[in-house]
Subunit: 136 residues, 2 copies
DNA sequence: ATATTGACTTGGACCAAGTCCATTGTAGGA
DNA sequence: TCCTACAATGGACTTGGTCCAAGTCAATAT
């Protein structure tokens, strides 16, 4: 049983069959599903689940900080259960496979003050692109 | 007159009033317009220009490498005439202002081999987020 | 065990961003 | 000036997502 479900229950999250299957579908490493993929997998287990419910539930999981919303390609957003330790993404330009990666160093430090235009810079998002072993 | 237009003419790009105004609208530093913003500004000069023409023209400019397509926020794509020297973006979370920035160092070098999962990594895209002087 | 009720789910309408296509127009060469 | 390959048009269509009124139900209280 996923400890995501445990944590959610511990936080007093109201449990329903729909919410359970959505949370269950979002388990594992390197998981970056679109909302429609989540819907398809959830519907395999609970056929009458509605699209709006999947969006509502994903939105709440994001608000709770349990799932990260990732815009990888300007198309559908992806939902990433690995929200507890921040990380970056490595994306295959061939097959769109996504891996979680942890670069060395602090990318914030690479932006010199002269290039900050008076901004208070708070976070950095890095996307590495290339070809996976299969697509190369 | 923009040297973008000169370059396009030199490349044998067929010139039309529509293409001219789209290219003219895309001039300047730190310009990151959405397709609809390009349409609005082009239509101020050439009222009957069609949405599809703006999309067609932007698509061609991107294919020619004269304009870069940037997905900054998972909303509408932005079109960036500063395509000749690669750069990264600094985005205000308050007002969505976008500045071009050039971080120090090579971000590719920060991704250790052990974190490459057999990929041939070709490019890196970095987005810095924070608050601009006005929004802070 | 049952009643209660506020929160959750549903399906469909709606929306924004973008693509597609048949028709009409025209830039630029002969 | 004529021709024609390429470009522009506008409207339908698609994708990804939001919103809402009505119905349902999980959790609590009795
Ligand atoms: Mn991830
Ligand atoms: Mn830029
Ligand atoms: Zn691949
Ligand atoms: Zn701002």
């Amino acid at each position: 049983m996923s400890d995501l479900l445990e944590r959610l229950r511990g936080r007093g999250w109201r449990m329903t069959p729909q919410r359970r299957v959505v949370a269950e579908v979002l388990a594992g490493e390197h998981v970056h599903l679109t909302a429609d993929e989540v819907l398809a997998r959830a519907a395999a287990r609970l056929p009458e689940i509605a699209r709006a419910t999947v969006y509502n539930t994903l939105g709440e999981l994001v608000a709770l900080g349990e799932v990260a919303e990732v815009a990888i390609d300007g198309r559908a957003k992806r939902y990433d259960p690995n929200a507890h330790r921040p990380h970056q993404h490595l994306v295959c330009s061939g097959c769109a496979a996504v891996r979680d990666v942890r670069p060395d160093g602090d990318p914030l430090a690479d932006l010199p003050a002269a290039e900050r235009f008076g901004f208070t810079v708070l976070e950095v998002e890095v996307t590495y692109r290339g070809l996976c072993a299969d697509c190369a």
